[in-house]
């Protein structure tokens, strides 16, 4: 009996020691190389941004065209919830005076008043949503500045929704899966009830070498995606040659979505 207990204690002690030493082993055994290698096809950038040319959209696009939105929502298994209060939207349109609040006047050119503008997450350089998230479930990717969501870490406190000055975030008030009306895309996760979601600049498509779904879907080239740090990129060329505006620049969040009006 006595020796049994002693053996038990010894083994128990050794086990505890082993478990306690695990982080030490990890620290020494860590390799410098990353654990996986990037797809050689992947699109790499340092600061992804989008330039939206609304004139092109209105003039060249078919009336009421929703190609970009449909492509995005289909690709990301975004549910179609009719109730406006619980709507999930990653990319949608709103009128000029609502997108650029306080920037229209009673005499705004007729071609602007009431015109639809495409809106999505601005992937701000200084995102308020990331600042407030208590679990780092929403975070800014260091290498390319995309503001991303970890659906598995989000506790659903909705602090990010209060913080976002662009209304870019949607909350899954109910189980979204029965409301996915498009063909299910098995390569992108569906979400659960109780988490926040939003546009992710198609980071999963960039990793595989394709442009964001909305950009690819737009037949009139109104959406241009590229790296702001690359002087030869399409977005930089457009920014250099056109007068562009951003939503609520005065708040200092530094949006990365630009509009040519």
């Amino acid at each position: 009996m006595e020796s049994n207990r002693r053996t038990f204690m010894k083994i128990g002690g050794l086990c505890a020691l082993g478990l306690g030493a695990l982080p030490v082993v990890d620290a020494f055994a860590k390799l410098d190389q990353p654990k996986f290698s990037q797809d050689p096809q992947a699109l790499v950038g340092k600061k992804w941004a989008m330039v939206i040319d609304m004139k092109k959209c209105w003039e060249k696009g078919k009336p009421g065209c929703k190609d970009c939105m449909l492509a995005c929502h289909k690709y990301h298994n975004v549910p179609t919830i009719e109730d406006e209060k619980e709507e999930i939207k990653w990319i949608w349109t709103d009128e000029h005076e609502h997108v650029f609040v306080g920037q229209s006047n009673p005499y705004t050119e007729e071609n602007l008043h009431g015109k639809p503008f495409i809106v999505l997450c601005n992937h701000c350089a200084n995102p308020a949503c990331v600042r407030v998230c208590p679990t780092k479930a929403t975070f800014k990717r260091k290498e390319d500045g995309i503001v991303m969501m970890d659906f598995h870490r989000c506790i659903g406190c909705r602090f990010c929704m209060a913080a976002c000055p662009f209304g870019a975030r949607s909350f899954n008030f109910r189980d979204p899966r029965p409301y996915i009306k498009t063909e299910l895309n098995a390569s992108f996760p569906t979400r659960e009830r109780g988490v926040v979601e939003k546009c992710n600049f198609c980071n999963e498509r960039l990793a595989a070498g394709s442009l964001p779904a909305c950009v690819e879907a737009c037949k009139c080239g109104a959406l241009v995606f590229g790296d702001l740090e690359d002087p030869k990129s399409g977005v930089r060329k457009l920014l250099a040659s056109h007068y562009t505006i951003r939503r609520k620049p005065e708040l200092g969040t530094e949006p990365n979505v630009y509009y040519i009006v």
Partner: protein
């Protein structure tokens, strides 16, 4: 000491039973929310915080009741508060308990709550709010319990308790400040983006918390042998008077800045609350009720004759409590979301299940409070005998 909670007269048991029934109703509603999600509430993608978070915000204020008796007693040697510090501390325990429950019922994924600790994020104010609220809860439980235990034994509490008491004073200020920072640091929410938010929270807290404390003291006086003492009530009512004046003054400051500057974003929320915006005016009657109740309360409190009259004082305390609940527990949180970032007005109203869950949480808080007060009063009664 806990066993004192198990023996009581019929009224005590009846009260507990009633609270248990409400708790059960709230729990049943919460099961519904657990199964269906927050879709059972009136919340939307535009007004994403509502009744729960508003109750949480208001109750952080009620938790301040403790410091308003503890601070004068320990720092200014106001001896008359000696008998009621325990009431303040236990009220704080009950209020913070409710605060935490309101946060939990508001979460979309409550089972992931521990992520806040597993992935600590110091840049999030919510992380700090968790720390200060938990800290305040434990401080008040430990202090209250030890002081009461010492009183029962007829001894003086240990010196380390005194240290905790001193810590609890600035800590009480911190819970309001941090809770105000949840709101005051968000770009694009003009109604919340005000430097006096924390000051407003403190002022309204020091009005609503002690008001409830006075009302509770009167209830205890009526149903038990415990007497808080006339002077303590007088002193507390003076504190409420000052805090209420400052609170209303602060609301006035918001009005001036918004309407004299004429900046639309600053005016919108106040317009929505008090006059209605673009044909939406669900909260207007409630906010005018706040105005009327504040006027009544101030009239009764500033006039010494009515303030010193029990009947009027009770009325004033009820008025202060409801007025502050309307302003902070209803208007402040909801109006921050109106209009939404795209300048649309989408209104919010709580649903029945949402109200039931809130009732359940309030009942849980009052259950805790009843039990703690029962223990405190029993000990005090024994000591006096």
């Amino acid at each position: 000491m806990l066993e004192r909670a198990l023996t009581g007269n019929q009224k005590y048991y009846r009260l507990l039973m009633l609270l248990l029934v409400f708790m059960g109703m709230g729990f049943a509603s919460y099961l519904m929310q657990w199964n269906k999600g927050l879709t059972i509430t009136g919340l939307s993608r535009d007004v994403s915080w509502g009744f729960y978070i508003a109750q949480f915000t208001f109750l952080v204020g009620v938790a301040a009741s403790a410091v308003m008796v503890v601070l004068p007693y320990y720092l200014h040697d106001v001896k008359v508060f000696g008998r009621i510090t325990i009431l303040g501390e236990f009220l704080a325990v009950a209020a913070v308990t409710m605060c935490m429950l309101f946060i939990v019922v508001d979460l979309g994924k409550p089972m992931r709550l521990l992520n806040v600790i597993l992935y600590p994020t110091p840049n999030s104010i919510l992380f700090w709010d968790m720390i200060v609220l938990n800290g305040y809860l434990f401080l008040n439980i430990i202090i209250g319990w030890n002081v009461l235990e010492a009183e029962r034994m007829g001894t003086h509490y240990a010196p380390w308790v005194k240290t905790l008491i001193y810590i609890s004073i600035p800590w009480a200020v911190s819970i309001h400040t941090v809770t105000a920072f949840l709101y005051a640091g968000l770009p694009g929410r003009h109604y919340w983006l005000t430097a006096i938010m924390a000051a407003r929270f403190l002022a309204s807290a020091f009005a609503s918390g002690p008001s409830l404390l006075i009302l509770l003291a009167f209830i205890l006086k009526k149903y038990t042998k415990f007497d808080p003492g006339r002077e303590a009530i007088d002193k507390l009512s003076q504190i409420i008077t000052y805090a209420m004046i400052i609170s209303v003054f602060f609301v006035g400051l918001e009005f001036f800045t918004a309407f004299y500057s004429g900046i639309p974003g600053h005016m919108h929320a106040l317009q929505y609350l008090f006059f209605g915006l673009e044909g939406h005016h669900k909260l207007v009657p409630f906010m005018w009720m706040f105005v009327i109740l504040s006027a009544v309360a101030l009239t009764l409190l500033i006039n010494p004759a009515t303030r010193k009259d029990d009947k009027f004082l009770k009325l004033a305390c009820v008025a202060v409590f409801i007025a502050m609940w309307l302003e902070k527990g209803l208007g402040l949180v909801v109006a921050g979301f109106i209009p939404n970032p795209l300048d649309h007005v989408h209104e919010y109203a709580p649903t029945i299940p949402e109200l039931m869950i809130a009732l359940g949480v309030w009942s849980t808080g009052f259950f805790v409070l009843t039990v703690l007060y029962k223990i405190a009063v029993s000990v005090k009664e024994e000591v006096e005998v």
